[in-house]
């Protein structure tokens, strides 16, 4: 069977490419997480960051009884869920539960398969729907995906790493947009995909559904206005219908059950996202660049407006719309925080668009003028960088549109160089060189990703083993350390609850009296002020300790809080576990 059925498959270019990609992403997994394991001295504690811990915890919280994916960290918040489902995390939890697969096995599976499937689906879209050569699609997709690893903006740098968003939706959104512009109503696969993709994207990633619907509706209306005899029931019509049907099911979910307050969607915007006015202004700047280019080609070269023109202009208008909404209509929404989710689809469409325009220049006879203008622009940007002592090409400004402009500049120069210089073009046809370059970029990108400092020589591994054997289900542990506030692994590794952690006390969990007391007591404990908590002077220490459930106290060694914690809780602590890295006391 192997010889007759499986091996011949590898003669197909796409199969051999896919197999190679799977191997490459597996190597990348070991490059990065091998370093994390070396740092933490265990493969158990290798999560890249606190947000990953939260989303894996949502997955685990989904399979607890009662479900606690709303806030898996706190005993008192059991039975809640989020108004927006973390579908990937929850699905993984449910698969783990019903297929009896250990939950931790999904960690390597996710970090290898998610980037691989993203790569594969984007390659298939570029090849089958946009008609680019397969080899070029494969190589460019590698380079663009890996380029995120080198970005100076942390959230963009984590695009291929963060569980589960945005990676779980990027390729499907790409497929959605590709179907909008290149789909064929008479193709059965396209028709089925047009019904399936929007609901899946909506449930996986509501932000992406908004982005996809934007193009779908605009292109549908534009198609009707352009050709009044065109079928009113084309793919884009059915995609809009399926999105709205999925939207109703989504709303049904959101307003039933023990939901967490929808305010979770409207958390305060961090100041690092810049002034709303400049956000809007820079988005207009990007729109002007795009629209100006399209008009220039239309009127100077008498070129027809292409689907990539529409895609790029419409995504630039989307950006303006988001910046306007965020800055002036519903200020301080989470939308602006998540703009980086749209970076990957935008840079892919931009690459195709830039290539299309540069090729027109190349054929027109004006290429030398274009080259001189680009070289002049490059010198100008580099000189300006030297003068103001800020690398304008690779710096990370708070404004998303500037990041897009930076990418635009890099892609423009790269495409121009490969198109304009024969020796560079010849190099791109040498397979060995391209393979080597892809591997080098992949390994270098995964090597430079910063390690999670909380994993370094992780101190609680022994205590967690003890707790797993001896603690009762859902007992509460107070970790007297601020170092592990984002990544203490307690719930994920033991299923036990935290007395306090920063995610558990996120913006929607701070209103109840219990939640307020929890923060006050925890802060007071670390500041040696438990005996003087305001308004609670009448309560004894024992009453304060048991006002919110508390069963264990865990502290790393060494710790600046060891003395204050043991002194204040003297008489209530019984040492149950100790090793070189931590103390664990039972609260009596």
């Amino acid at each position: 069977m192997l010889k007759n059925k499986i091996l011949p498959l590898f003669k197909l270019q796409i199969v051999s490419y896919a197999f190679t990609a799977l191997l490459l992403f597996t190597v990348c997994f070991f490059v990065h997480f091998g370093r994390e394991a070396h740092s933490s001295k265990s493969w158990e504690y290798v999560l890249p960051g606190g947000e990953d811990l939260v989303y894996w915890s949502y997955g685990k919280g989904r399979i607890m009884t009662p479900r606690c994916d709303g806030n898996p960290f706190y005993f008192e918040e059991q039975g809640t869920r989020h108004i927006i489902p973390w579908t990937t995390a929850e699905t993984i939890g449910l698969i783990s539960k019903y297929a009896k697969i250990p939950f931790s096995w999904f960690f390597p599976a996710w970090h290898i398969l998610a980037p691989f499937l993203t790569w594969l689906l984007i390659v298939l879209c570029c090849w089958k729907l946009w008609d680019y050569p397969l080899s070029a699609s494969a190589a460019i997709t590698y380079f663009l995906l890996f380029s995120t690893l080198f970005h100076s903006h942390q959230m963009i740098q984590w695009t291929l790493y963060r569980f589960s968003r945005p990676l779980d939706g990027i390729a499907l959104l790409f497929l959605w947009i590709s179907l909008v512009f290149k789909g064929n109503r008479n193709n059965k696969i396209h028709f089925c995909a047009s019904w399936l993709v929007p609901p899946i994207v909506l449930w996986l990633h509501p932000y992406y559904a908004g982005f996809g619907l934007w193009f779908t509706v605009i292109e549908y209306v534009r198609g009707l206005l352009k050709n009044k005899n065109a079928s009113k029931f084309d793919l884009r019509f059915w995609m809009t219908v399926s999105t709205f049907i999925a939207g109703f099911s989504f709303i049904g979910y959101a307003f039933s059950g023990e939901n967490i307050n929808p305010l979770v969607l409207f958390g305060p915007t961090k100041p690092s996202f810049g002034s709303p006015f400049l956000n809007l202004l820079t988005s207009f700047l990007w729109l002007a660049v795009v629209w100006g280019t399209v008009l220039f080609f239309k009127f100077s070269f008498r070129e027809k407006t292409t689907p990539l023109d529409f895609l790029t202009v419409e995504s630039a208008i989307f950006l303006v719309w988001v910046c306007w909404i965020n800055g002036f209509v519903v200020p301080k929404t989470e939308l602006i925080v998540h703009l980086h989710y749209f970076l990957v689809p935008m840079i892919f469409s931009m690459t195709g668009w830039v290539y299309e325009k540069v090729i027109i220049f190349k054929k027109s006879g004006y290429f030398s003028i274009f080259s001189k203008a680009l070289v002049f622009l490059t010198i100008l940007v580099l000189t300006l960088s030297l003068v103001i002592k800020e690398n304008l090409i690779f710096c990370s400004p708070p404004y998303f549109s500037i990041k897009i402009l930076q990418y635009f500049f890099i892609i423009l120069v790269s495409v121009w160089a490969v198109t304009g210089f024969d020796f560079l073009r010849r190099l791109t046809t040498k397979k060995g060189l391209v393979y080597g370059l892809i591997i080098a970029v992949a390994v270098a990108g995964h090597w430079i990703i910063p390690l999670n400092p909380q994993n370094r020589d992780f101190p609680f591994a022994g205590a967690f083993q003890w707790l797993k054997k001896n603690a009762q289900e859902k007992e509460v542990v107070l970790t007297a350390s601020r170092k592990y506030r984002f990544c203490d692994y307690l719930f994920l590794k033991t299923g036990l609850k935290s007395y306090y952690n920063d995610y558990g006390s996120g913006n929607v969990f701070i209103e109840s009296p219990q939640a307020k007391f929890r923060v006050v007591f925890y802060t007071a404990l670390l500041l040696n002020r438990v005996d003087k908590i305001r308004h609670l002077e009448a309560l004894s220490l024992e009453e304060k300790i048991h006002l919110v459930r508390l069963d264990y106290v865990l502290i790393p060694i060494p710790s600046p809080f060891y003395n204050v914690v043991t002194r204040q809780l003297q008489g209530f602590l019984k040492l149950v576990y100790q090793d070189k890295k931590c103390f664990l006391w039972k609260v009596t």
Partner: protein, 132 residues
Amino acid sequence: MKFFRQAIPTVLFFLLLNAAAFSSEDIGKAIRQENETPDEKDVEPYLILGKKIIAQDPQSIEGYKLILIHALFTKNMNAFLNTIDDFKEQGAPEPEIDYLAADMLYLVDYFGLALLKLADFEKAWREKYAQK
């Protein structure tokens, strides 16, 4: 008259010097009881005296405490947090300055910020004492 003109600043100076040693609870209580932000000129002496003490002894936690009291009284949290960063650049004792800031924030009910400062404190403590 001349005697009184000289005596008043001296008395004020000693009173403020004592204020530096006031318990933080008193300060927190005073700040919480303020319904309105006091005039800048009312709390200006804290700032002046604090700066004077630090000029003489850059490691004096009491001097920093006075300036932080001024920042808290003016109810400008950005100024408060920026002041701590400035102190660190000027060579204020770390990690003690973060613990002091956390304590003062706790006393005026800014628990979230107090916890952030405690995180800074633990980080600085580990860098100074634990990772040698």
